[in-house]
Homo-oligomer: 439 residues x 2
């Protein structure tokens, strides 16, 4: 039998070059979290199905997920998102110090048709602040998002942090007499606004929401992109939710987060949001899927019993972020092609192997990455390997080098050769390598 | 309904303190790979069941695994190990530059009873050299293992790299007329040697291997711990496999790898090994499970068609390694308790918030990790948070600080206070933070 050479559709398989790009992004995300004092945690991929049924709703937990019964008869799910597991972990931890500021890089799974920016197996970056009821938490999360985009060289005009308020939306929809169920449907329709042409979307609203006044309200509300828009002030002015969004927009202005913009139509898909919701979008229209989505949730741990915990958090898809960066040429070319080795030691004959291995070990002891020949092939073939792997320096270890203790370093790019003592190689490469690490 | 607060048994859930320990270990493993020029790659968790049936055998792929049929009718497995996926990836890559030196940190899944050192969801470190037929590849892998243990402060006497040869074992078992099937059973029995008392084990051998001469051979062979042992020389002296193991033991001596020791009884569980096999063990007897297991495989990609690829590699369980380090007090206490923030900015009142946020952002711009109050609580409560999170420095931002541009830094450990210009805080903390990063 000849097996397939391809992974399953939508799965995450990364060659070293692709992994270097992901690592570059992960490093920036992690650094952004760390400078705000976020700590990393981890939860299982395999979870009880009931946890996600309770928290994510059955569409996500059943239809869009990988779920199955294990050999012990347990109904399991491969997590489609992280938040329910976070909730469980927080509920179980007795002595957390609030505010809890946690981040994680979960690999998640969804049984959906793979398409641009959407895979069946994907890595997210999740970041949450728990135990803070004030808007200062939202502000900090927006600061983190701005820092992430900045550190990846995305200029402020390239992306927007769009935000709205689930609470405000609920208030307004309630005011025209909608039931919970009708509101859920209205949210689903509002969520489609950016995926359709304006005419199509309006038609969809009027099709789905039969009461004309309600449909008008949905259309008017979803079209607001200013928290002080006359229609909005008229409809909700003075309400707590409206005051909150006006206050938040002022806080963003004070903190100079000009990338943030109110868009009433932002509702986000997940059921558990209760306050401000937000998403990061490409402004160029090239990537229609949100790079990141998040919001405030009122009671993270309710279903586990115990005290209420409020939170603000987001999930950011590494794939959508990478596509965004790729679209605008923001991934430095040097990253995917960079081989880790600083120097290649070519070996003249087996006689010099022990000397060469010792030299290599000494260099590695000071942090230099050394690739040494282990094939026993002739020198020209060894050179070819070093060249194809784009290793910056090469040195031949032959009888002369062993006898003299002197090495000739060849810069593979410039072709220049420098003869130096073995002790000097160490220093020369160490200096070079340490300065290189700053990248 | 009240949901369970516990993850499923045997799953991997890490609090920030536990994650910091894992990260410490991951960092050392990665660094060890990088200085030898290894590159990181990644493969999916979800794979076609047939890939593992073909490569890992049905015990691992069916009985000991999580496998299920997805909504599209595909038979899937959550990978119990990495090698079959590596094989697939190598077979699919047209233009690899040999020797390929790759590493990965897969999370793997096995449906087994969880016990000390064995979880159902676990992270491994995999490292492989492909395309090298000579023992130089094995030597390099042993060098990497020694470097890993060294970098984690495990002194040479604490662990041993035990090695043997599948080829030698096969040769000897064949010589007493065993069939393939009988040999597989003999391997399984040899594999149990260290898990039983010598008497018990001998009884097991004689129970399972009915022909007396064969049983004697198994017992004699498995008791050799010197490649030049008289029995072994008598039985296999001069054979290719015997020469190889003698040569390899000389190479290890030349390279000064005194941690390596020949133990004929090492066979390792996986089917696909064909040459030298090895494992890293605690010498203190406190941890009976191998920290790492590996070996040479002849033909990684055979079942995909195309050219043969030989390789040497290992899988190292992070959990067993961590237990080993824990047993001997080798995990620095400071790691799990270390909060990422360098400084906590307490805010006197909302008036100073914008000033404080700006200061915090400037500090973060130069890599300082700053936690700032976002609760709006009174100063003594803010201090309590900083104290409980063990953040090293604290500074209050009040009206005086805003007016003067001067900040008082309090060292939370010593209690000493230093007044300085805002511009100086930046420098002071940056110096401190950069020097701290060297750890």
């Amino acid at each position: 039998m000849v097996l397939s050479r391809k992974p399953l559709k939508g799965m995450r398989e990364l060659t070293p070059g692709e992994k270097r790009i992901e690592d570059y992004i992960i490093k920036r995300l992690r650094e952004a979290g760390v400078v705000y004092g976020f700590e990393e945690y981890e939860t299982p991929v395999l979870e009880p199905l009931e946890l996600f049924l309770a928290k994510s709703g059955s569409e996500l937990a059943v239809e869009q997920s990988y779920n199955f019964t294990d050999k012990g008869g347990r109904k399991l799910i491969m997590r489609p998102e992280l938040t329910p597991s976070l909730a469980r972990m927080v509920a179980a931890s007795g002595e957390l110090i609030y505010p809890v500021k946690w981040m994680s890089f979960p690999v998640c799974y969804r049984y959906e048709r793979p398409q641009r920016g959407r895979a069946r197996e994907f890595m997210q970056f999740n970041l949450d602040i728990l135990g803070v009821s004030g808007l200062e938490a939202e502000l900090e999360v927006f600061l983190v998002l701005r820092r992430i985009m900045n550190s990846l060289n995305a200029s402020p005009g390239r992306y927007v942090i769009r935000y709205s308020s689930r609470r405000l939306a609920s208030e307004i929809l309630e005011s025209c007499g909608m039931t919970e169920e009708e509101m859920a449907q209205a949210f689903a329709v509002i969520d489609k606004k950016d995926k359709l042409e304006p005419d199509e979307w309006e038609e969809l609203v009027r099709n789905r929401i039969k009461i004309e006044r309600s449909a008008d309200t949905v259309i008017n509300f979803a079209s607001c992109s200013d928290p002080n828009a006359p229609w909005l002030v008229e409809a909700a002015g003075g309400s707590e939710a409206c005051d909150e969004i006006v206050r938040f927009s002022g806080m963003l202005r004070d903190a100079g987060i000009s990338e943030a913009q109110f868009e009433a139509s932002v509702v986000r898909g997940l059921d558990y949001y209760t306050g401000i919701v937000f998403e990061v979008m490409d402004t160029g229209g090239k990537n229609r899927r949100a790079i990141c989505g998040g919001g405030r949730y009122d009671n993270l741990v309710g279903m586990f019993g115990g005290q209420k915990v409020t939170g603000v958090g987001f999930g950011l898809g590494l794939l959508t972020l990478e596509l965004f960066l790729e679209t605008y040429g923001l991934i430095p070319d040097s990253i995917s092609g960079k081989h880790p080795a600083d120097i290649f030691l070519a070996i003249y004959s087996d006689e010099e192997r022990t000397f060469a291995v010792n030299l290599a070990e000494n260099l590695r002891n000071v942090g230099v990455s050394v690739e040494i020949d282990i094939t026993g092939k002739n020198l020209s073939k060894q050179f070819r390997v070093a060249d194809r792997k784009s290793i910056g320096y090469i040195a031949i270890i032959g009888p002369e080098e062993v006898a003299s203790g002197k090495i000739t370093l060849k810069n593979m790019l410039s072709g220049t050769e420098t003869e130096c003592e073995v002790s000097e190689v160490l220093r020369m490469l160490r200096d070079r390598s340490l300065s290189g690490e700053a990248n």
